[in-house]
Protein backbone atom coordinates (compact mmCIF):
# COMPACT_ATOMS: atom_id res chain seq x y z
CA UNK A 1 0.00 0.00 0.00
CA UNK A 2 1.36 3.39 -0.98
CA UNK A 3 1.01 6.62 0.93
CA UNK A 4 1.94 10.18 0.09
CA UNK A 5 2.01 13.66 1.63
CA UNK A 6 3.03 17.09 0.49
CA UNK A 7 3.53 20.33 2.41
CA UNK A 8 4.75 23.78 1.45
CA UNK A 9 6.21 26.33 3.85
CA UNK A 10 7.93 29.73 3.85
CA UNK A 11 11.68 29.81 3.27
CA UNK A 12 12.36 30.70 6.89
CA UNK A 13 15.09 29.02 8.91
CA UNK A 14 12.68 28.22 11.74
CA UNK A 15 10.75 25.94 9.33
CA UNK A 16 13.73 23.56 9.05
CA UNK A 17 12.62 21.96 12.32
CA UNK A 18 9.02 21.78 11.13
CA UNK A 19 10.02 20.08 7.85
CA UNK A 20 12.10 17.32 9.41
CA UNK A 21 9.49 16.70 12.13
CA UNK A 22 6.74 16.50 9.51
CA UNK A 23 8.72 13.93 7.50
CA UNK A 24 9.47 11.92 10.64
CA UNK A 25 5.83 11.98 11.74
CA UNK A 26 4.70 10.80 8.31
CA UNK A 27 7.06 7.81 8.14
CA UNK A 28 6.42 6.88 11.79
CA UNK A 29 3.61 4.50 10.72
CA UNK A 30 6.26 2.31 9.08
CA UNK A 31 7.74 1.65 12.50
CA UNK A 32 11.25 2.81 11.58
CA UNK A 33 14.16 2.41 13.99
CA UNK A 34 15.37 5.49 15.88
CA UNK A 35 18.44 5.43 13.68
CA UNK A 36 16.43 5.40 10.46
CA UNK A 37 14.24 8.21 11.76
CA UNK A 38 17.27 10.33 12.69
CA UNK A 39 18.80 9.72 9.27
CA UNK A 40 15.59 10.77 7.52
CA UNK A 41 15.31 13.88 9.68
CA UNK A 42 18.91 14.81 8.97
CA UNK A 43 18.56 14.32 5.21
CA UNK A 44 15.43 16.49 5.12
CA UNK A 45 17.06 19.11 7.32
CA UNK A 46 20.08 19.37 4.99
CA UNK A 47 18.02 19.61 1.80
CA UNK A 48 15.53 22.09 3.25
CA UNK A 49 18.34 24.26 4.66
CA UNK A 50 19.94 24.33 1.21
CA UNK A 51 16.69 25.51 -0.38
CA UNK A 52 16.16 28.19 2.26
CA UNK A 53 19.75 29.48 2.36
CA UNK A 54 21.00 29.00 -1.19
CA UNK A 55 17.84 28.64 -3.25
CA UNK A 56 15.94 31.55 -1.79
CA UNK A 57 18.50 33.55 0.21
CA UNK A 58 16.15 33.22 3.19
CA UNK A 59 13.38 35.17 1.47
CA UNK A 60 10.27 34.30 3.56
CA UNK A 61 7.89 35.18 0.73
CA UNK A 62 9.16 32.12 -1.18
CA UNK A 63 7.92 28.59 -0.58
CA UNK A 64 9.79 25.32 -0.15
CA UNK A 65 7.95 22.10 -0.90
CA UNK A 66 8.41 18.79 0.87
CA UNK A 67 6.89 15.62 -0.49
CA UNK A 68 7.12 12.20 1.17
CA UNK A 69 6.13 8.92 -0.39
CA UNK A 70 5.97 5.56 1.26
CA UNK A 71 5.97 2.52 -0.99
CA UNK A 72 5.00 -0.97 -0.04
CA UNK A 73 8.02 -2.86 1.19
CA UNK A 74 9.22 0.10 3.25
CA UNK A 75 10.75 2.32 0.62
CA UNK A 76 10.68 6.00 1.57
CA UNK A 77 11.06 8.74 -1.03
CA UNK A 78 11.66 12.32 0.09
CA UNK A 79 11.43 15.16 -2.40
CA UNK A 80 12.48 18.71 -1.52
CA UNK A 81 11.68 21.26 -4.18
CA UNK A 82 12.32 24.99 -4.58
CA UNK A 83 11.93 27.49 -7.39
CA UNK A 84 14.99 29.43 -6.32
CA UNK A 85 18.22 30.44 -8.03
CA UNK A 86 19.29 26.88 -8.81
CA UNK A 87 22.75 25.32 -8.68
CA UNK A 88 25.15 26.17 -11.48
CA UNK A 89 27.32 23.08 -11.20
CA UNK A 90 25.54 20.26 -9.34
CA UNK A 91 28.49 17.88 -9.54
CA UNK A 92 30.78 20.42 -7.92
CA UNK A 93 28.18 21.33 -5.28
CA UNK A 94 27.99 17.66 -4.28
CA UNK A 95 31.72 17.47 -3.55
CA UNK A 96 32.56 17.30 0.17
CA UNK A 97 33.59 20.65 1.67
CA UNK A 98 32.29 22.59 -1.32
CA UNK A 99 30.74 25.84 -0.21
CA UNK A 100 29.88 29.07 -1.98
CA UNK A 101 31.89 30.72 0.76
CA UNK A 102 30.55 32.95 3.46
CA UNK A 103 31.36 34.29 6.87
CA UNK A 104 28.81 32.02 8.46
CA UNK A 105 31.05 29.02 9.03
CA UNK A 106 29.39 26.74 6.50
CA UNK A 107 30.96 23.33 6.21
CA UNK A 108 29.92 22.38 2.69
CA UNK A 109 29.00 18.92 3.97
CA UNK A 110 25.24 19.01 3.37
CA UNK A 111 25.16 16.81 0.25
CA UNK A 112 27.77 14.45 1.72
CA UNK A 113 25.58 13.95 4.80
CA UNK A 114 22.51 13.35 2.62
CA UNK A 115 24.45 10.83 0.53
CA UNK A 116 25.70 8.92 3.56
CA UNK A 117 22.34 8.67 5.29
CA UNK A 118 20.21 7.86 2.26
CA UNK A 119 20.41 4.99 -0.21
CA UNK A 120 20.10 7.27 -3.19
CA UNK A 121 20.38 11.00 -3.79
CA UNK A 122 19.36 12.75 -6.96
CA UNK A 123 19.78 16.46 -7.53
CA UNK A 124 18.17 18.16 -10.50
CA UNK A 125 18.76 21.87 -10.85
CA UNK A 126 18.47 24.59 -13.41
CA UNK A 127 19.88 28.06 -12.93
CA UNK A 128 17.07 30.54 -12.36
CA UNK A 129 14.44 27.82 -12.15
CA UNK A 130 15.14 25.96 -8.96
CA UNK A 131 16.33 22.70 -7.46
CA UNK A 132 14.70 19.37 -6.73
CA UNK A 133 16.41 16.94 -4.38
CA UNK A 134 15.09 13.39 -4.32
CA UNK A 135 16.28 11.03 -1.60
CA UNK A 136 15.40 7.37 -1.35
CA UNK A 137 15.74 5.20 1.70
CA UNK A 138 14.79 1.58 2.19
CA UNK A 139 13.58 0.94 5.73
CA UNK A 140 14.49 -2.30 7.39
CA UNK A 141 10.93 -3.46 8.06
CA UNK A 142 8.10 -3.94 7.92
CA UNK A 143 5.52 -4.24 10.58
CA UNK A 144 3.56 -1.03 10.34
CA UNK A 145 0.93 0.27 7.97
Amino acid sequence: MDNRMKVAFSARAENEGFARSAAAAFVACMDPTIEELTEIKTGVSEAVSNSIIHGYGEDPTQMVELECQIRSGGKVILIIRDQGVGIEDVEKAREPMFTTGSTEERSGMGFTVMESFMDKLEVVSRTGEGTTVTMTKQLDISNGF
Binding site: G17, P96, E105, S107, M109, V113
Partner: protein, 126 residues
Protein backbone atom coordinates in the same frame (compact mmCIF):
# COMPACT_ATOMS: atom_id res chain seq x y z
CA UNK B 1 18.42 25.23 21.42
CA UNK B 2 19.45 26.44 24.85
CA UNK B 3 22.96 26.85 26.29
CA UNK B 4 24.23 26.65 29.84
CA UNK B 5 27.67 27.85 30.85
CA UNK B 6 29.98 26.87 33.64
CA UNK B 7 33.46 28.18 34.35
CA UNK B 8 36.18 26.33 36.20
CA UNK B 9 39.63 27.96 36.36
CA UNK B 10 40.29 29.07 32.78
CA UNK B 11 37.99 26.44 31.25
CA UNK B 12 34.54 27.32 29.93
CA UNK B 13 32.02 24.50 29.63
CA UNK B 14 29.18 25.21 27.20
CA UNK B 15 26.40 22.64 27.54
CA UNK B 16 23.91 22.56 24.69
CA UNK B 17 20.29 21.43 25.01
CA UNK B 18 17.99 20.66 22.07
CA UNK B 19 18.37 20.77 18.31
CA UNK B 20 21.40 22.22 16.51
CA UNK B 21 20.58 23.13 12.91
CA UNK B 22 21.13 26.06 10.56
CA UNK B 23 18.37 27.98 12.33
CA UNK B 24 19.88 27.70 15.80
CA UNK B 25 23.58 27.67 14.78
CA UNK B 26 23.94 31.45 14.46
CA UNK B 27 22.65 32.20 17.95
CA UNK B 28 24.66 29.32 19.45
CA UNK B 29 27.84 30.61 17.85
CA UNK B 30 27.26 34.19 19.03
CA UNK B 31 26.35 33.21 22.58
CA UNK B 32 29.42 30.99 23.00
CA UNK B 33 31.76 33.61 21.53
CA UNK B 34 30.32 36.38 23.70
CA UNK B 35 30.57 34.26 26.84
CA UNK B 36 34.13 33.22 26.03
CA UNK B 37 35.04 36.87 25.66
CA UNK B 38 33.20 37.98 28.79
CA UNK B 39 34.83 35.33 30.98
CA UNK B 40 38.23 35.48 29.30
CA UNK B 41 38.54 31.70 29.25
CA UNK B 42 41.44 29.89 27.61
CA UNK B 43 39.93 26.46 26.95
CA UNK B 44 36.47 25.47 25.80
CA UNK B 45 34.49 22.29 26.31
CA UNK B 46 31.41 21.82 24.15
CA UNK B 47 29.11 19.42 25.96
CA UNK B 48 26.71 17.85 23.45
CA UNK B 49 25.25 15.24 25.78
CA UNK B 50 21.79 16.83 25.69
CA UNK B 51 21.77 17.61 21.97
CA UNK B 52 18.79 15.75 20.52
CA UNK B 53 19.45 16.54 16.86
CA UNK B 54 22.35 17.88 14.82
CA UNK B 55 22.89 18.29 11.09
CA UNK B 56 25.95 19.53 9.20
CA UNK B 57 25.46 23.02 10.66
CA UNK B 58 27.07 21.62 13.81
CA UNK B 59 30.34 21.07 11.93
CA UNK B 60 30.69 24.80 11.29
CA UNK B 61 29.90 25.62 14.91
CA UNK B 62 32.56 23.19 16.18
CA UNK B 63 35.29 24.12 13.69
CA UNK B 64 34.60 27.84 14.12
CA UNK B 65 35.07 27.54 17.89
CA UNK B 66 38.18 25.40 17.33
CA UNK B 67 39.74 28.23 15.30
CA UNK B 68 38.93 30.81 17.97
CA UNK B 69 40.19 28.73 20.89
CA UNK B 70 43.45 27.63 19.25
CA UNK B 71 44.17 31.23 18.21
CA UNK B 72 44.19 32.21 21.87
CA UNK B 73 46.42 29.28 22.80
CA UNK B 74 43.69 27.10 24.27
CA UNK B 75 42.21 23.71 23.50
CA UNK B 76 38.74 22.64 22.43
CA UNK B 77 37.13 19.46 23.70
CA UNK B 78 33.91 17.85 22.59
CA UNK B 79 32.04 15.88 25.22
CA UNK B 80 29.00 13.66 25.37
CA UNK B 81 28.53 13.23 21.61
CA UNK B 82 26.05 10.57 20.57
CA UNK B 83 27.08 8.01 17.98
CA UNK B 84 25.04 9.89 15.41
CA UNK B 85 26.61 13.28 16.12
CA UNK B 86 30.06 11.66 15.98
CA UNK B 87 29.24 10.20 12.58
CA UNK B 88 28.51 13.64 11.12
CA UNK B 89 31.59 15.20 12.70
CA UNK B 90 33.76 12.33 11.45
CA UNK B 91 32.61 12.94 7.87
CA UNK B 92 34.16 16.39 8.02
CA UNK B 93 37.32 15.12 9.73
CA UNK B 94 36.59 17.16 12.87
CA UNK B 95 38.25 14.61 15.15
CA UNK B 96 41.57 14.91 13.35
CA UNK B 97 41.96 18.26 15.14
CA UNK B 98 39.42 18.30 17.97
CA UNK B 99 39.70 16.04 21.03
CA UNK B 100 36.67 14.21 22.30
CA UNK B 101 35.89 12.92 25.75
CA UNK B 102 33.05 10.85 27.12
CA UNK B 103 31.88 13.62 29.43
CA UNK B 104 32.61 17.25 30.26
CA UNK B 105 33.99 16.09 33.63
CA UNK B 106 36.51 13.83 31.86
CA UNK B 107 37.62 16.73 29.67
CA UNK B 108 38.03 19.01 32.72
CA UNK B 109 40.11 16.33 34.51
CA UNK B 110 42.33 15.91 31.48
CA UNK B 111 42.87 19.65 31.02
CA UNK B 112 43.57 20.24 34.71
CA UNK B 113 45.89 17.24 34.83
CA UNK B 114 47.87 18.58 31.90
CA UNK B 115 48.01 22.04 33.42
CA UNK B 116 49.36 20.49 36.63
CA UNK B 117 52.11 18.72 34.67
CA UNK B 118 52.95 21.91 32.77
CA UNK B 119 53.25 23.78 36.07
CA UNK B 120 55.50 21.12 37.58
CA UNK B 121 57.70 21.04 34.50
CA UNK B 122 58.12 24.80 34.45
CA UNK B 123 58.77 24.82 38.23
CA UNK B 124 61.45 22.12 37.99
CA UNK B 125 63.06 23.97 35.10
CA UNK B 126 63.60 27.08 37.16
Amino acid sequence: MRLEFQMTDDILIASAFGELDHHSAGAVRDEIDETMKAFGCRHLILDFEKVTFMDSSGIGVVLGRYNKVTKQGGRLFLAGCSEFIEKILYMAGVFTVVDKQRSAEDAVCLLKGQQQIEMEVSASGQ
